[in-house]
């Protein structure tokens, strides 16, 4: 299945892109996606340790199941206000 990945701030700077369609073997959870991301992009390992994952604009945890076509965000520690 395919999901839409979107990254921000420092992660976006390191990767050099903001959005990417990613192929995942279904069924897949957030934990599966994180493992695959670290294998594909080892350069964000340190940053990822402080990031949380959103699924369809809601905060998720490792057990959240990903659906075909969902939007997954890699969210660094926020600093608005």
């Amino acid at each position: 299945m395919k999901i839409n990945l979107v990254v921000f701030a420092g992660v976006k700077e390191v990767l050099g892109w903001e959005r990417l369609e990613i192929a995942l073997t279904a069924p897949a959870t957030v934990a599966d996606l994180k493992r695959q991301l670290l294998l594909t992009y080892p350069e964000i390992t340190d940053l990822m340790a402080h990031c949380v994952i959103s699924v369809d604009q809601e905060y998720s945890d490792d057990s959240t199941v990903l659906e075909e076509g969902c939007e997954v965000g890699v969210i660094p520690p926020v600093s608005g206000g």
Partner: protein
């Protein structure tokens, strides 16, 4: 009212959004870019966000505040892009019949916004160097 904008924020807009003839108390918090943080001089802050999620999270905070307290109005406006020293990055306003709910909801909303709304700031110093501000590395606003 929930809003993300690249334009300067007018305080009066936030106050107008929460005005209610049954409100006796109107509280407005305005976060501005601070020039000095210790010995570090800031020139501007640059904000970016995950827009769809930021709006969703802000709307949830709005709804949660309305449930927790007897509020008449809640408004949150966050500026994006460059915010020079002295200008407003965030305005949070609440109104209520009496002042206690407003004084409880105001700080709660800004605290929660800083915890959950996906907005990130970069600090640009006088030399033009930029760095991402993380909560563990507090930056040049409130």
């Amino acid at each position: 009212m929930i809003k993300l904008t690249e334009q300067p924020i007018q305080a009066q807009e936030a106050l107008d959004a929460i005005a209610d003839c049954n409100a006796g108390a109107n509280l407005l918090f305005v976060g501005t870019t601070r020039q000095w943080t210790g010995e570090q001089e800031t020139r501007e802050l640059k904000y970016e966000c995950y827009q769809e999620m930021a709006l969703k999270q802000m709307q949830q905070l709005h709804d949660q505040a309305m449930e927790k307290w007897p509020l008449l109005g809640v408004c949150m406006i966050h500026r994006l892009g460059s915010v020079p020293v002295g200008e407003t990055s965030i305005a949070v306003a609440v109104s209520s019949a009496h002042r206690q709910p407003a004084f409880q909801a105001g700080p709660w909303l800004i605290d929660r916004l800083k915890q959950v709304v996906p907005v990130w700031k970069q600090e640009i110093n006088q030399q033009g160097d930029s760095s991402w501000v993380h909560p563990v590395n507090p930056g040049a606003t409130s």
